[in-house]
């Protein structure tokens, strides 16, 4: 994932000081500190509100969110819904390993219902969430899926996502080799959707609901009005910025 991000940022020729990566908590959320960009490793599930605030205050920055399936769909699920519909110009990368990696292997909202583990013997009996379909229903304008084992393909998706004006979701299948070693098989199983992105909601829904969850590409891309930015902050002085936000 890191390689894909670096390639995308290099391709777009974005200076590291103009990129800010905001994350929550989880193995996936450690991404910011592995980069030379500005970073904020925040609290569990809250990367999106933080990133929203930053983008509205400093619209000239490229703001990227790094999250996991637990971070984004469990504790941060509500923020995820509203970030999709609010359509602030953010790129949201969700590294999905279908497990809580950092806390040692609990099932997440995207875990298959019959995944048998010590922590959930015989599985959770709960149907997994379909995050891309949820994003579509919640109003996201850019919906893509990549695979961490394909850094070049994922970099191409990220380039498109960062260029997209508005909220862009890049769901990245990211095997957890420690708690879900069987996910190593994804390398053989992922495949491209081999279709041009559609801007038709019904067609996108059809694609997402007939998908096996392992296809990569851009499922949906529509130009929707981004959330308007009203802040005029261009200051490089903290006290000036602070004064602007004092109630």
């Amino acid at each position: 994932m890191q390689a894909a991000l670096f390639r995308a940022l290099a391709h777009l020729d974005l200076p590291p000081e103009h990129v800010t990566i905001i994350s929550g908590i989880g193995c996936s959320s450690r991404l910011p500190a592995y980069t030379e960009c500005y970073g904020f490793h925040g609290i569990h599930g809250r990367a999106l509100p933080l990133a929203t605030g930053l983008k509205l205050a400093r619209p000239e920055l490229t703001v990227i969110v790094a999250s996991g399936d637990g971070d984004a769909f469990s504790i941060g699920g509500n923020h995820f819904l509203h970030a999709c519909r609010r359509n602030v110009d953010l790129t949201c990368i969700i590294m999905d390993n279908e497990v809580y990696g950092m806390t040692k292997g609990q099932p997440s909202p995207t875990t298959a219902s019959d995944w048998d583990s010590k922590l959930a013997p015989s599985g959770t009996h709960v149907r997994p969430l379909q995050p891309l379909a949820v994003a579509l229903a919640a109003g996201a304008g850019f919906i893509a899926r990549g695979f961490s084992g394909d850094p070049n393909g994922t970099a191409r998706l990220l380039v498109e996502a960062i260029r997209h004006p508005g909220f862009a979701l890049v769901h990245v299948l990211s095997p957890c080799v420690t708690y879900r070693p069987e996910e190593k098989l994804w390398k053989q199983q992922v495949h491209s959707i081999e279709m041009e992105p559609t801007a038709e909601l019904a067609e996108a829904a059809r694609r997402l609901f007939t998908d096996d969850g392992l296809s990569t590409g851009i499922f949906y891309r529509a130009t929707l009005p981004p959330y308007p930015v009203t802040s005029q902050t261009r200051s490089d002085d903290l006290s000036v910025i602070e004064a602007e936000f004092v109630l």
Binding site: E17, A33, E36, G39, L61, S239, E242
Partner: protein
């Protein structure tokens, strides 16, 4: 590395904006007052990750005991060496009887003190606004000449009184008016305590 502003006191906030001159920036540099200048996103060479994980001076996560110790010391020093100025507590009136309180009980306490004064009882009201870091030397000065302290708090378990005992030296004569919500403590209840205890 940065423009250092004069140390703010009197409750003024202190914001130091880092001006990067070399391409190297220690976000969490250990400084005399514990405050280190912050660079703003967009500033070349000022990149760092604000991390909840323990980190070194650059902001890079670190599990070294020395980094842990020095960053803990830095954060403590920042709070301890800051001059909170007079707004750390609100003080009203004078007398051998004092009421110590905080938060939402301050208003009924003030009202009760005014009523007590009208009946000839001199009362000093002390409302703490800053709980931590505790200011024992400052409270001791405010309690000079005070012989009786009534602690008023909206709490079943006397949390405020326990906190006061942990951090401050109070006069020997202390009474506590502690009551849980939802019924708020009214001025009459405080006044009754004050008048009973002359």
């Amino acid at each position: 590395m940065c423009d250092r502003l004069p140390i703010a006191g009197d409750g003024e906030s202190l914001r130091l904006t880092a001006k990067i001159v070399t391409n190297y920036y220690d976000r969490y540099a250990v400084t005399a007052d514990g405050v280190s200048p912050m660079s703003l996103p967009g500033t070349p060479g000022g990149q760092y990750t604000a991390d909840g994980l323990e980190h070194n001076v650059r902001g890079v996560p670190s599990s070294r005991a020395t980094d842990h110790q020095s960053q803990l010391d830095k954060r403590r020093d920042k709070l301890l060496r800051y001059d909170y100025g007079p707004i750390w507590a609100e003080v009203e009136g004078d007398g051998e009887a004092a009421v110590l309180t905080w938060g939402s009980t301050a208003a009924p306490v003030r009202e009760a003190a005014a009523l007590a004064r009208a009946q000839g009882l001199a009362v000093k009201v002390l409302v703490l606004r800053l709980l931590l870091p505790a200011q024992p030397a400052r409270l001791a000065r405010l309690l000079e000449g005070v012989r009786r302290v009534l602690v008023v708090e909206q709490s079943h378990s006397q949390q405020f009184y326990s906190y006061l005992k942990a951090h401050y030296t109070l006069p020997a004569a202390v009474r506590v008016l502690a009551r849980p919500g939802p019924l708020s403590i009214r001025p009459a209840a405080v006044l009754a305590q004050l008048l009973q205890w002359r």
